[in-house]
């Protein structure tokens, strides 16, 4: 009897959508850290683009890239939401990044981006629940330290 009921239920599900459209589950709200992860990935992509054009900056920039990579690992771990899955084609931005031909200009570009990223992390820290405040404060401080290195 149970088996027959289960079969009937399955059949009903399969044919029922002709008159009752299935409602998809609501998407999870984006994690407030998702924008921070996106800017992290964008920034890392820009560092890599600069390094491709100016390999002589490797000693200066590699440690900064390593810091952003460490941030990405922790942020990804915290977010663990569909919004954090890599888009098709990967995280790294398209080669449309215009890297200045002069190394000094390329560094100035990265510095401006780090300044914006620092301010973004500060806002995230101030708005965060207690359990995330220390981590976001450190990410903000690290981005600020990058501005110092690039100055």
């Amino acid at each position: 009897v149970l088996g027959a009921l289960a079969g009937a239920t399955t059949a009903g599900t399969l044919t029922g959508c002709s008159w009752l459209a299935p409602v998809p589950p609501p998407p999870l709200p984006p994690d407030p850290l998702a924008p921070l992860l996106r800017s992290n990935r964008r920034l890392t992509g820009h560092y890599q683009a600069v390094l491709a054009v100016h390999p002589e900056l490797t000693d200066l920039l590699s440690p900064l890239v390593a810091v952003h990579t460490a941030h990405a690992a922790v942020l990804l771990d915290l977010v663990r939401r569909p919004a954090a899955t890599p888009p098709a084609g990967g995280w790294v931005q398209s080669p449309a990044t215009n890297v200045p031909a002069e190394a000094a200009d390329a560094l100035a570009m990265l510095r401006a981006e780090e300044e914006a990223a620092r301010d973004e992390a500060a806002q995230a820290c101030l708005a965060a629940p207690p359990e995330r405040a220390a981590l976001l404060g450190s990410i903000c401080a690290a981005r600020a330290s990058h501005v110092e290195v690039l100055s």
Binding site: A122, P130, A133, G137, S138, A141, S145, E148
Partner: protein, 141 residues
């Protein structure tokens, strides 16, 4: 607003930092001496602001110790730069620890202090030739 204790601990760390910049400044000259003076001034301003903040809330701000034991002797510029890095790392750690304990507007005070200390630690690592000059999570000891 802040849970009891974290601002007092931050103030104690600022007192210690101000003390440490005495022997640090003595061993440095030129550009580094100027950087040390600016850093010491920044810590003094932060201390004064904290004292006013705590007194305004009826909390007794902790006073500075007469003397502090330095982690190592500062007998040359290299040691002075190393101590300066250490001082800023410790100050950053105390302010970072205050972040989860605070809400607006105190959290902004703590974040500003953490960021300033981390930037100064980076500046001192660059001056000391320490590589890398940055750490992934400033204040996380």
């Amino acid at each position: 607003v802040t849970g009891s204790g974290s601002l007092a601990e931050a103030l104690a760390a600022e007192h210690a930092a101000i003390y440490a910049y005495g022997p640090i400044g003595v061993r440095l000259d030129g550009e580094h001496a100027a950087t040390a003076r600016e850093a010491e001034d920044a810590h003094r301003h932060r201390r004064d602001a904290l004292v006013v903040l705590m007194a305004g809330r009826g909390t007794d701000p902790p006073t500075a110790a007469v003397t502090y034991e330095l982690p190592f002797e500062v007998t040359n510029p290299d040691a002075a730069l190393r101590l300066a890095v250490l001082v800023e790392e410790r100050v950053a750690a105390v302010w970072r620890a205050a972040l989860p304990e605070t809400t607006a507007p105190d959290r902004e005070v703590a974040l500003d202090a953490l960021v300033d200390a981390a930037v100064r630690a980076t500046r001192w690592r660059l001056a000391a030739g320490v590589a890398p000059a940055t750490v992934p999570f400033p204040g996380a000891l």
